[in-house]
């Protein structure tokens, strides 16, 4: 039989997260605890779940329009206006997607011609590079540095640009490092982006989870809104990962083309989730703030613990991850994480799962109760003692 598979997909490496997940699953040991998840530990606030249930009771089980419920798009635009002073047209500049992940995929597909270069700062979330490759793009990786607190600098960006560069992915607040980009950081890279006439795909899924002032979107920087696809969603802010709901806002001509792909590939985002999300945006601000404060306490606790143990850790101001260095132990991230799992039954994710420059670091999630974090930090402490 002839080879049935696409060379492109076969040549894409599976996610490094998957590999570690398999090791944990194979151990199948109830004693194993984890700081390895990339989703909130909170349940979706009850009033939001209740609205989902209500929509089912009312029989709202049909497709919505391709772009999503008009009411939801309007609430999203109200939210962006109220939080970030950004103005988008709910009719032409807003599309509801199946999680932020779909928006990443179809955004790339709408923008890229084969051979175009896409700049991807790493360490970063695992899907940008493979999704870019699937469109025929050439990914150009920028290795972010711990000494810059894993922010993207104008110099780093400038160096990566060639005449074929089309798009810059901007994943801040960042998974896995917890890094943020503040207004002056964004202004500096915006000058470069405008000068070279590039587009930006700004993945702001963790926008609500920052711990040093309010998040600033690159779309707020003068001249940037017309060259930015702003991606956000409900997973992290409202603890709604399983509802699979995100959105993208941007220039009308790009949203129009993305809507075509979405219409053919997906049809529309889940209807129940859309109704629940309307409630989240209307009445969920307090829930978000309460969760943010809880994360902030855990973040401070973890940073203190890592420093107390003697592990270098820059202070991250976003998302729910810390990214401590393990360089002084003379092991690779993979070895460290594997031994920590085998010897102390604690699962964490090696930094390399998010790009080669994650070598020497671990991603530690604090989407866990303080009690769980204490137990886990005790195990890390024990492990480090044996080194």
């Amino acid at each position: 039989m002839r080879n049935q598979l696409s060379d492109t997909i076969v040549n894409i490496k599976p996610s490094g997260i998957r590999k570690f997940f398999d090791i944990v699953a194979e151990m199948n040991d109830p004693e194993v605890i984890s700081l390895g998840v990339g989703e909130p530990d909170f349940d979706t606030p009850w009033h939001i779940r209740d609205e989902g249930i209500y929509s089912l009771e009312k029989g709202r089980t049909f497709y919505t329009s391709n772009s999503g419920l008009m009411e939801l798009r309007t609430e999203i635009c109200n939210y962006l206006e109220r939080r970030f002073d950004l103005h988008y047209d709910p009719r032409k500049q807003t599309l509801i997607t199946v999680g932020g992940s779909e928006a990443i995929d179809i955004g790339l597909r709408a923008l890229i011609n084969p051979g175009d270069e896409v700049i991807i700062p790493q360490p970063c979330y695992v899907s940008y590079e493979p999704c870019a490759i699937l469109t025929g793009a050439k990914p150009v990786i920028v290795n972010l540095k711990a000494e810059n607190e894993f922010r993207l600098t104008a110099e780093e960006l400038e160096e990566a640009i060639t005449p074929r560069t089309k798009l810059v992915i901007l994943p801040f607040p960042n998974n896995p490092t917890g890094a943020i980009m503040e207004r002056e950081d964004l202004e500096a890279i915006s000058r470069v982006i405008i000068e070279h006439d590039l587009m930006v795909m700004s993945d702001e899924i963790y926008a609500e989870l920052t711990y040093k002032g309010k998040h600033v979107s690159i779309a707020q920087i003068p001249g940037m809104q017309e060259r930015t696809l702003l991606i956000n969603g409900f997973s992290k802010a409202y603890a709604m990962t399983g509802w699979r709901l995100g959105y993208v806002c941007g220039p009308a001509d790009i949203i129009e083309q993305m809507t075509k792909i979405h219409q053919f590939a997906i049809m529309c985002a889940p209807t129940t989730s859309q109704y629940a999300a309307v409630e989240a945006l209307k009445n969920g601000d307090d829930d978000v703030e309460e969760m943010r404060r809880a994360y902030d306490q855990r973040r401070r606790y973890l940073i203190h613990e890592f420093r107390d143990i003697g592990m270098d850790c820059f202070e991250p101001f976003g998302a729910f991850y810390v990214f401590p260095s393990i360089q002084r132990f003379g092991m690779t991230s993979d070895e460290f994480a594997t031994r920590l799992l085998k010897e102390q039954k604690l699962a964490v994710v090696p930094g390399t799962a998010f790009g080669e420059c994650g070598e020497g670091f671990l991603r530690i999630s604090y989407a866990y109760s303080i009690e769980s974090l204490k137990k886990a930090m005790g195990r890390i402490r024990e492990f480090v003692k044996t080194l």
Partner: protein, 163 residues
Amino acid sequence: MDNIREAILTTIEKNSRIDLNELAIRLGTDEVSVANALESMESEGIICGYHTMIDWDKTSIDKVSALIEVRVTPQREEGFDRIAERIYNYPEVTSVYLISGGYDLLVSLEGKSLKEVSQFVSEKLSTLDTVISTATHFILKRYKDHGTIMNTRTEDGREKVSP
């Protein structure tokens, strides 16, 4: 109220046994500031006590709780305060609220048995001069108390590792 005081209150409201040093770390301040804030909030009467939530049903100790609606005649100059005081001074009374609506005072009560609670109502409460009527509701099951859901699940339903 400043942020640190508010943050202390919302944290210890859920866990009053928290170690001061840990609380300081979590709030991004130092232990002395936390201790000072606690002390001043105690003396200002903002913090009125540190209690423990107990599910007595899981022990061998018998407890019966009731909520009692009480209608009273308010007294000149004293309003409801004097009658409330006469009720709340009984140690078996665990709370007394003046409320709006169809009756005046909501009294919660704890006793060893139905008989004990009934006796209190008929002999002590109903016989007070200004009490017009009472309606006693025995608590059959406690689903949620002080913001805590009893018998709630604790397992983590998430995958152990995810992107």
